[in-house]
Subunit: 331 residues, 2 copies
């Protein structure tokens, strides 16, 4: 094995992402220097935030550089190590990017035990999506038993965990998802109290029926009309954890119409990025790990096979075609 495959950003999309914005390359396997380790990536995580990075726009992170390996979270196995803290055979979560192999100096790595939960779960329920759910629910919404949380993208990697964690705390969980199949999964398998299909029309009335006592917390993964509909049902002093704005990743404006309710209901809203709150991760991951291992938190994965499948899988994710956490299984 003298070369490995990676995918770089070939061009910045102006609107929708297309396969031609990516380029698959074979590049030489580097020689390890002192203090480095080589990781064979087993799974690559595909996430909506990547769309934002593809723009050359002001955001909370630097844009993805052209002709460089696409950014992405990975979990894999240490193949070789010249780093004192890592040994061949260990498993690590890394920002390894869209690539079969990654060289690391150890920065930002997290060792994981593949015996406790499945390896891929460290990119989902016991990884960044799980922690996003945990942080937003516990540190921003902080709801009381008997209150109601409304979760958009409820069948997704983050949303599904939000509702299940909420139920553990005695909070009523109402999901919003696209299509009857996803809604059935959210209620029947994940145990939400209700789920509203935003594609069925009549979102506001359906939400009223699903949250008869109003909404005390919104975990917002989507933005746009879905967010407006949830705001319309908020109770006084409702709180909003804002973690995703997928509707705007193509650069278009997402007007929000119920701004007046932010005042009328004295709402507290906070946008957050979970990687800025690493101090919470040990506590959160330990809780999520226990809940996944004991089967009290369930999740679903969409796994595409091989690095070359990543662009189409990512485009599908942006269009809501995935069902559960979108992963790419690598060699």
């Amino acid at each position: 094995m003298n070369t490995y495959q990676r995918i770089v950003l070939a061009a910045r999309p102006q609107g929708e992402v297309e396969p031609g914005h990516f380029r698959l390359e074979a590049v030489p396997v580097p020689v390890l220097r002192e203090g480095e380790l080589l990781i064979r990536n087993r799974y690559l995580s595909l996430d909506p935030y990547m769309r934002g990075r593809m723009n050359d726009a002001r955001s909370y992170a630097a844009p993805q550089a052209l002709d460089e390996t696409m950014i992405g979270g990975t979990v894999g196995e240490v193949l070789a190590s010249r780093h004192p803290s890592y040994a061949a055979g260990e498993h690590v979560v890394a920002m390894g990017g869209w690539a079969e192999l990654t060289v690391s100096d150890g920065t930002g790595l997290r060792k994981v035990d593949p015996a406790a939960v499945p390896l891929s779960a460290h990119l989902g329920a016991v990884g960044m999506p799980g922690m996003t759910a945990w942080y937003g629910l516990n540190r921003i919404l902080a709801l009381q038993p008997g209150q109601t949380v409304c979760v958009s993208a409820a069948s997704g990697a983050v949303g599904g965990i939000v509702g299940q964690l909420a139920k553990q705390h005695g909070v009523r969980a109402v999901g919003i998802a696209g299509g009857a199949e996803k809604c059935a999964y959210v209620v029947d398998e994940l145990g939400f109290d209700a789920c509203v299909d935003y594609r069925a029309g009549n979102l506001r009335d359906a939400l009223k029926a699903a949250a008869p006592d109003g909404i005390d917390g919104i975990f917002e993964n989507v933005g746009g009309e879905v967010f407006d509909a949830a705001l319309a049902r908020t109770n006084p002093f409702a709180r909003v954890a804002l973690c995703g704005m997928i509707a705007g990743y193509n650069g278009e404006d997402i007007p929000m119409r119920n701004v007046r309710l932010l005042l009328a209901n004295r709402i507290m809203l906070r946008g957050f990025i979970v990687t800025e709150h690493l101090d919470c991760w040990p506590e959160g991951l330990a809780e999520l790990g226990r809940l996944v291992a004991s089967g009290r938190i369930k999740y679903r994965e969409s796994v595409s096979q091989g690095l070359a499948s990543a662009p189409e899988a990512f485009i599908g994710l942006l269009k809501g075609r995935n069902f559960g956490k979108q992963l790419v299984a690598l060699a």
Copy 2:
């Protein structure tokens, strides 16, 4: 004096408020019962929130009832009292409404000393508008010296205090106001570092020049395009105190376009109503009273004469024709 004058809500506006939505009436002076006092109102405060109460819509407060005295804050003198805590000649702030006389059972009254600051100031800088500025700035924005606050309606009763309090704490104060005259007042008399005229066009570029290091806190009194322009200049972890949405008081939607920035800049936003935080009032009013008495906080008033002038004065307020705190001087 067997009758006094009051103004009632005669009809609910569908769009703009017109004089015909109000009706001036002469009603009999009631006979005081045990536990009541009679107040001669000297000044009536006119405030944007009244527009919201005129609608029959869901809000943080019950709608103004038709054919009842219009709601409003007043300051006046006790004419007669059968209440053990109040004596004739004392001065009180009350929710006396659009009326020359008010009968009260003492609920919600606040005694004031007319020697410390002018009587009318208790409806402005040392009253609800001042406390709104104080609470939003100190309890929501909580800025550090050297940071920048952006204040809309900066020449108004609330906005003017926000900037002056901010300057006391070493915070850079940037105002937004309508017209060159108001902007000159905000900078030259109130001491803001800069003020942008939203009517001059090119709001975003002007704001960029006025806040070269970006905006760390927004004290939002207006909503709509002005709010969007301020959001566009926020720094990461900016905070927003949302206290007014005058652009929407006619019931139309105020779309907000920079929703994405709430996430990208991890913004914390909170809508608030200062009367729900009465625990802060003694501390805040004491500070505001000292600052006004010593001349370190300045304010301006627009005073219309006589109760009959209230509807036109209120309509002018909604159209931004007032300059400083809008009051009605009563008999």
